[in-house]
Amino acid sequence: MTKYTPSIAPDPLDGRALILDLTGLSHLLPSESALVLDILADCEELGTPPVRLAFGDTIGMAGIFAREPEPLTGGAALSPHLSWVFWIPPGRGIAFLRRYPVTALGFRREVAVWCRELGIRTVADFMGIPAGEIAAKFGRDTWRRWEEILGRRADILPPRQPPEEESVTQWLEYPGTSPEALAFCLQRAVELLLLPLAARDRGITRLAVAIHCEDGGKVEENLEFFTPAADPRGILEVIRLRLERRRFPAAVSGARLVAVETAPLIRRSCPMFEELAGERRRTERWGRLAERLAARLGEDRVLQPVLRAEYQPELAWQGVPLFTARKQKRSRRDSPPLPETGPRPTRLYARPIPIAVVAAHPDGPPYRCFYGGRWFSVVRAWGPERIETGWWRGRLTARDYYRTEWEDGSHFWLYRRLQDARWFIHGRFE
């Protein structure tokens, strides 16, 4: 649609509608009927479902005519791909608009209710309200919208920015199953993809890879890069790591790479001091390593631990995928301070292990523990550290924690659940 006008945007009231601002372009465009036929041909080529086409004096009016074709009499079915075409001569829009219900104007729901209560059914009824009272009765936003529909207030569509996507499709001479053939195909595709980006001094931050197979199937992967990537070897390594565990349904016939997101390449002058240079080199190398780790292990398996202000041990931290953490710019400064608690084990079980314990007395520390098929004496126990929290989550956590030293010298973290006095091992001081 950009061939008709650069000002094109989705209708804010209906995400399925597109608005084309043709103001001032009439001398460049064919007649309305030719334009309709041209758009119709485009839709047919794209295979879109039936569309409704409307022309209006203003953006707001055209949107109303396209969305609400019911009271119209001027529409006509032209083809299976076109439900309605509504065209009115310039300057006659208001006359047609008068027949529409007031709900078609796209006001807030409360305004529609007030209009119904006041007996305002159609746009003609609404037009009877003095212009100065609309803002006072229904709010300034309603008044602004009404002014835009009538064309008294400028309603400007921002020119559409074309997405910064570069794509390359590379086909093999004949489908192959060897990794070398795929590697060659990908290498060529990456080199071709980087050429236009290098001219603009940009690198790839998000890359979509689609491997086409002989049977028409596709293997798709989406890759993210820590810093803008412009090194073909590094990009190929990340693609290889991501694809090496994928199964291809048939012989590979080609590959398509799309640079979904690009960013300017970071150029820095060489620092004078070796320490700064080393730190910068380490940061760059870490970015490349993180990409390889995420490609091979999976992005959700490369985590940055972020502390949370929670006393409940299993909720005291959260593993944020590294790429997400980078976007959120989390750092130590953002982390809440460590809550004042007792010692914490280096290993914490996600599911605490129930354990048989003989306590000194019902509310006392553990004395003997049955674990691994035998009884252990507890030589020393520190605690209890009582944790009562989580009632606002609908599940109260009430525990008495003990750090215990067993007869063989090992240290475990035990707790007694206060609701039923059952004992659990929650961690070990490994």
Partner: protein, 272 residues
């Protein structure tokens, strides 16, 4: 022990039973002398140049490791049993390595690692990355990649089983990357060939006095099983003080028990 035997042997050989030693005595003396020279050579290996990493525990740093560990080293920590304290001690070394700059990578394929405990022991949250590989094969690959990269200051990973080739690959990666590799392995691995710069066995010891909760330290015996440039076989006993924090008043139970007082009378009543 070895040096004492050598000294005894040397003393015997230095005291001739006759004016002209027999051929057998002569050859024994030469062997002993050769052994003594080689042992002295081992002892007198110069300490590696450059900075050294220390655990902060004097007995380990000075007596066992001769001043610390080179930052580009592979160190194996063998644990006698779960909850033995090997990881806690290794984390001290990891924190020391992390302070020099670079990332700290924890490889945790069991999903049990608790980062708040590591942060308390000195790791920097902003420079700590946790990897959770789906398999041991992925874990080995990840450790190798991280060790070979100069942006990583320290890698900590636990491996219940490893074949003989993998530690050798790790050691070569450490030489390339210049970071510190800390491998946590079970005590059964002490029979495996050692490619690490240092192999330590951590043996937890029970506290001698039952119920003595005033002392918040734990006893560990650290055995030096293998080390480049040092004589293995030595061991030290240490007391590790855990970082503990006083509980706020509102989070203490109303009645604080004295475990030592509570344990003693019941000890006789509970059947073994």
């Amino acid at each position: 022990m070895t040096s004492r035997i050598i000294d005894d042997l040397a003393m015997k050989t230095a005291t001739p039973s006759a004016q002209t030693p027999s051929l057998a005595e002569h050859s024994v003396g030469r062997v002993v002398e050769d052994l003594r020279r080689r042992l002295e050579g081992l002892r007198s290996l110069p300490a590696a140049a450059g900075p050294r990493l220390q655990t902060g525990i004097r007995e380990i740093d000075e007596e066992l490791l001769g001043g610390g560990i080179s930052p580009a080293s592979l160190v194996e920590w063998l644990a006698e049993r779960p909850g033995s304290g090997a990881e806690e001690t290794a984390l001290r070394l990891a924190a020391a390595a992390c302070r020099r700059g670079g990332m700290a990578v924890i490889v945790d394929d069991t999903g049990t690692f608790h980062p708040p405990a590591a942060f308390r022991r000195g790791l920097d949250p902003a420079r700590t990355i946790l990897l959770r590989p789906a398999s041991q094969r992925d874990a080995v690959w990840a450790v190798h990649q991280c060790l070979a990269d100069e942006s990583v200051a320290v890698v900590l990973a636990a491996f219940p089983r490893l074949n003989d080739v993998v530690p050798r690959r790790f050691q070569l990666a450490v030489e390339r990357g210049g970071g510190l590799g800390l491998l946590l392995r079970p005590a059964a691995a002490k029979a495996d060939p050692c490619w690490a710069a240092v192999r330590l066995l951590v043996e937890p010891l029970p506290w001698p006095r039952l119920g003595d909760t005033l002392a918040e330290a734990r006893r560990l015996r650290i055995h030096l099983l293998a080390a480049r440039g040092m004589i293995p076989g030595r061991s030290v006993e240490i007391l590790v003080h855990e970082p503990t924090y006083p509980l706020p008043e509102d989070r203490r139970p109303a009645e604080r028990l004295n475990p030592s007082a509570a344990l003693r009378p019941l000890r006789r009543k509970v059947p073994g």
